[in-house]
Symmetry: C2
Subunit: 380 residues, 2 copies
């Protein structure tokens, strides 16, 4: 490759939240010129990025006008105006991930259909157009009802355990998915650059609280067999290859009781399940995303050290200016890495930051995770 | 400790070069509000820091006016106006490292005297006021002549091998230091927070080219015995404790043929010899500096993975807009981490960036170092 490395490419990022912050930290290493647009004037990146534009990511004109000034556009959230991106692409702006792929992923119904059409293992499902149609699928219950468009961070997903729950379903285009009894929930971040090179990070595992049935923390690497690991990576590579996507793709998966891997859903951008790669892997997901969209060689995804990631959520019952209780105490623990997202106000369960803990010993890592979760509280 | 962690402290940094860039990357993790002053409007941090002031770091008014808006001041270069810092300190602004300590370090003669007065091992020396005085110390030759004030990055240091070289000496207050036959040149970065907690990073080693007698790369950890390592750390801790300094201090040392540790010189700030800590250690020197000046608990300095650091210098014979040849090639090598400093123009031997290489295997690490040095060139 006789290419000259060019740090002058004008890279636009749609979205200026916490993922944008960490992408920016990586971009500084390559002296890349990131500009960002976000609807919130006080978004996490607003104070960091000199060329920060306030604009509506779903508005054609806002996205088009922002993108016109860029050589390359990427996203840190997938709720963006696709038509503007297609127009920009037709005018020579590189858009990675490609608009057609964001469009597939934006609608969970289309996404599921894509898996089915492309022999990508996923839970069986039926499409429902409204509540009336949902009622005709009583035989599938218990099942999960997912709205096609607009769901985000747990919203737009409803467990329908029995007939009595049907009224909680969505009276809008949605899908009803079989409830999968799974052993583990895994995620694999996979990257593909413009030249077609593909590489995946080792799978990570969402560890659930034994009683509350909520994700407690993320563990890297996932504690699974070599065969399970290889299968998970194979599936993730298959998804990005069949999509033909450029950039990074977070593939969330279920490892079923029968050791099958089923794709749950994907995100075509840096993802919550890859934060620990900053400290835990040779290349971070943010580095890898930049390498992929700039058509640089992909970086080594190997794990440097085992790690866990705990989301730092606003404490229930507190709304207002964020105060971090217990910060000094957790910073005394070896291997604790604090990432605050620069959000001035906290509210219940708002993602205010995350804590990565690195430790080569899994037992002491687990002890530290519980210490950190006990000690740190975001209050107001 | 019942302290509330406060991200609102207004932190001013004197200097906005490459060290400031990496300090800024660390500061983002704690959502700290850094503002910077540098004489160059196109300094490496100028495009990154929203509150960036152009000002003369050695001018009283510029430093004072910048510092007045801050709660806490720190430095990324030690050539700063001390009187303004003392005034600010007297008015309640925290200044770390403390002005009195920067003052000692600014003048190599005072620095050496401090070592002598405090039983810190250092090479024997005599003070010279001018060239005339230098001529009276012929019996000490070969020796090294170092100017007291204003030397930087190799300037202000002159080898005086024999009488014939005396005219190359400094006709200004300087010191003449015995030439020490050393086995290795080491550096230890040591931190002290306001509460007096002290911790040191494992020693690193400057590896010299076997023929050219120039530093070729930095190796972490240094390949020395446990006793040598402990001695180096003991000396570094002794220096920071006797200075009573808050912040991080890079202590450059000689390991003599007789296994003595002699302090060469120190820098009271993040330093070139600590760059590899970003990827190689649990805590980076930048994280540690912030922890120290904010009186947070010091982080774990252990090595996560062995690493080497190669400075990326402007190629001899090229001046102008920087072009990075071989970037794609080095990015294919596992464990290569590129840090560009955002300098638009290159000139011969200008520090344009650095490359850290992480690899648990020392042999393959050395091979990669040589590959990287061969492949990457900064031209114009």
């Amino acid at each position: 490759m006789a290419k000259i490395f060019n740090t002058q490419t004008k890279i636009g990022v749609l979205g200026g939240g916490q993922l944008g912050r960490m992408l920016h930290q990586s971009a500084i290493n390559l002296n890349l010129d990131l500009r960002m647009m976000d609807p919130a004037a006080n978004a996490p990146c607003a104070s960091l990025i000199k060329r920060f534009t306030v604009g509506d990511l779903e508005n054609y004109d806002d996205v088009y006008n922002f993108g016109r000034e860029c050589d390359l556009l990427t996203i840190e959230i997938e709720k963006v105006n696709i038509e503007a991106l297609k127009k920009l692409q037709s005018e020579g702006v590189k858009v990675f991930p490609q608009p057609e792929i964001i469009e597939i992923i934006q609608d969970k119904r289309v996404q599921k259909q894509f898996y089915q059409d492309n022999d990508i293992p996923t839970a069986p499902f039926v499409l429902t157009e409204n509540l009336e149609e949902l009622k005709q699928h009583k035989e599938k219950l218990p099942a999960v009802h997912k709205v096609g468009k607009g769901g985000y961070d747990g919203r737009g997903v409803q467990m329908i355990r029995s007939e009595a729950d049907i009224e909680k379903g969505f009276d809008a285009p949605a899908l009803l998915e079989n409830l999968i009894p799974f052993k583990k929930e895994l995620a694999v971040i996979v990257a593909r650059n413009e030249s077609g090179e593909i590489d995946a990070f080792p799978p990570v595992e969402m560890v659930f609280h034994p009683e509350h049935n909520l994700v407690e923390y993320l563990l890297s690497p996932a504690v699974i067999s070599k065969e399970q690991k290889e299968k998970a990576i194979r599936v993730a590579k298959d998804v990005i290859e069949k999509l033909g996507m450029v950039g990074i793709l977070a593939v969330e998966m279920f490892l079923t009781k029968d050791d099958e891997i089923l794709v749950n859903e994907v995100a075509p951008r840096p993802h919550n399940s890859g934060h620990q790669s900053i400290e835990g892997n040779f290349t971070s997901q943010y580095d890898q995303h930049l390498r992929a969209i700039l058509d640089l060689p992909l970086g080594n995804t190997d794990i440097k050290i085992a790690s866990a990631m705990v989301n730092l959520l606003g404490e229930d019952g507190y709304t207002g200016e964020a105060q971090y209780e217990g910060m000094q105490e957790i910073m005394r623990i070896n291997g604790v890495h604090v990432h605050l997202y620069g959000k001035a106000t906290t509210k219940p369960f708002r993602k205010m930051g995350h804590i990565t803990i690195t430790d080569p010993n899994l037992e002491s890592l687990r002890i530290k995770i519980h210490q950190v979760k006990e000690m740190i509280k975001v209050k107001a």
